[in-house]
Every structure is written in structure tokens, then in C-alpha cells.
Symmetry: C2
Subunit: 161 residues, 2 copies
């Protein structure tokens, strides 16, 4: 149901603000987390593909509606990290997250990837996020209790391609 989106893997300077706006729209992320996401865009702009960060932006009406960021994990044979997947709050519910995830998986496969790791929080507010990954064929590979903070563990999902 994302037929009205166009996708773009090139990264533009304006994507710094697009990424910030998407993540802030969710009301989910701490400012530090948003800063880290924007830094990945900046790394990519500065160093190109040598940064190891691949992006995919979904656009509609001249606006970025969602994006993914992923890349190979150094010193592994074929493991990739899906660092970020975000959809603007006002574009949710149209299947864009599923489309972006499927596209990222295709790109990772074409880059030689065999395993995709995704990390998220164990906090209750992330239950829909965890359910999303489970519904897309990811399994919980490990849980690190207290990783992010008290009562805030890290859940590591894995999908073997």
C-alpha cells in the first residue's frame, strides 16, 4: 500500500533535517538518540559509502516520509545491522514500514548480507516495534537486561536471509 511513494538511496544534505523530523515526530526517541541518527547521515555525507552506512528514503509530495539506515558489521562474514527504520507519524498505517524493511532486506541480500541484526528496547512502549519485527520473520536472539538503563534492556532481533 505504499504505491504512492518514491524511493531514493542517494543521500542529500537536507536528509539531516528529514531524519530529525521523522524521528522527532514519533515522540519516542531521546534527543541523544536523534542526534546519533543524524550523525550517521553526516558520516555518510562526509565519507560516502566508505562510511558503511546505506540509506533508503521514501518520498511523497516532495517530503521524506520514512527511511532506513543499515550497513555491514565490521569483522563479520555477512552480518548487517539495521540501524534505523523510521516513518513520519502522519504517514503511519499505510504499510510504509513494511515496504522499507523489505527493500532494506533486498539491498542487504544484494550486498552479500546473510544475517540482519536489529536492536531495540525492552520498554513497554516498544512493544509494537518488537511485534513488527516478529511479524516480519525476525526472532529474538538475545536480551541484555538493563543495557540502556534500569528496566530498559536491549532486545537483539535476528533474521537469517
Amino acid at each position: 500500500m505504499s504505491g504512492d511513494f518514491s524511493f531514493r538511496t542517494e543521500v542529500l544534505p537536507a536528509d539531516r533535517e528529514a531524519v530529525r523530523a521523522i524521528l522527532e515526530s514519533s515522540g519516542f526517541f531521546y534527543p541523544e538518540e536523534v542526534d546519533v541518527a543524524v550523525e550517521l547521515v553526516e558520516e555518510r555525507l562526509a565519507r560516502g559509502l566508505a562510511s558503511g552506512y546505506h540509506f533508503d528514503f521514501a518520498e511523497t509530495g516532495g517530503q521524506v516520509a520514512g527511511y532506513t539506515c543499515f550497513g555491514p558489521i565490521a569483522c563479520t562474514k555477512d552480518s548487517f545491522d539495521l540501524y534505523w527504520i523510521g516513518v513520519r507519524q502522519d504517514r503511519r498505517g499505510a504499510g510504509l514500514g513494511r515496504s522499507l524493511l523489505a527493500r532494506a532486506e533486498d539491498r542487504i541480500r544484494s550486498l552479500g548480507g546473510g544475517r540482519i541484526y536489529v536492536e531495540t528496547s525492552s520498554r513497554p512502549q516498544y512493544e509494537p516495534t518488537r511485534g513488527f519485527y516478529l511479524s516480519r520473520g525476525y526472532r529474538v536472539e538475545a536480551v541484555l537486561d538493563g543495557f540502556y538503563g534500569p528496566a530498559d534492556g536491549k532486545v537483539i532481533f535476528l533474521k537469517v536471509l
Copy 2:
């Protein structure tokens, strides 16, 4: 038993080659892993403490005999990664690894850290490494089978300070 070492937390340009020599001396690491370790030195030289990489070098006779690299994990309350600990092959067996680890733990504590994560391989050749962490109060928090490659999982150790 490391009374004849002096320690230095300042990072010098020559440490790029020192780190390379230490890690290569073990015969353990893949060239890509050594490159990643050297990149952390370069990041620190380029960006200072803003890089998030802290170092500690042990010297004797004008030569670097071992080192640690660690830093806070972004978006966590007080979790730190111990990225690297290395001792030159010809300086092993004198307790320098234990000294370096204890010093890193003290530094992390003074930086506000409460949890130290260390990642290593599940391969048989890393059994002494894993035994070292277990003997220093670390516990296995998770194992990601096949993370680095077939039959090469990632073992995540944790010490709560």
C-alpha cells in the same frame, strides 16, 4: 607484577603503529580487525575525547607493551564498551592484562560507568580470553551464534560495577 610498567592515557600519533604491532604480535586477529583497532586510535587523534574513545597505554623500555580502549555506549545511562585489550606477545604472563583491565574499570567507574560490556568470539582459540574475563568477575550475558561467521559466534560479557 606490572610494577615495571608506566601508564599513559594521552594518545600519540605513534600509537597507531603500537596498536598494530601489539595486535599483530598475537597472531590472533584478522587484518580487518587490526585495521578497525587502528581506526579507533585515528578517530581519537582526530576528534579528541569527543570521539568517545578512551585509551590506556602501558609502556616499558620506551615501548608500548599493552593497551586498552573503552568508552561510553551512546544512548545508554551508564553502559561502557571495552573495545580492546591487548598485550604484546613477548610481554604476556606478567599480569599486565589484569592490571590494564583493573585500570580500565577504575577509569570507567570515575567516568560514571556502571556496566562494562566486552564482546569476544566463541571460537576455541578464544577460550583463554573468555577464561580471563570470567576470572575477573565478568559473566556471559548473551551468545549470538554465527554472528562473526559460521561456527564463530559473539559472546557478550558483562560486569556490573
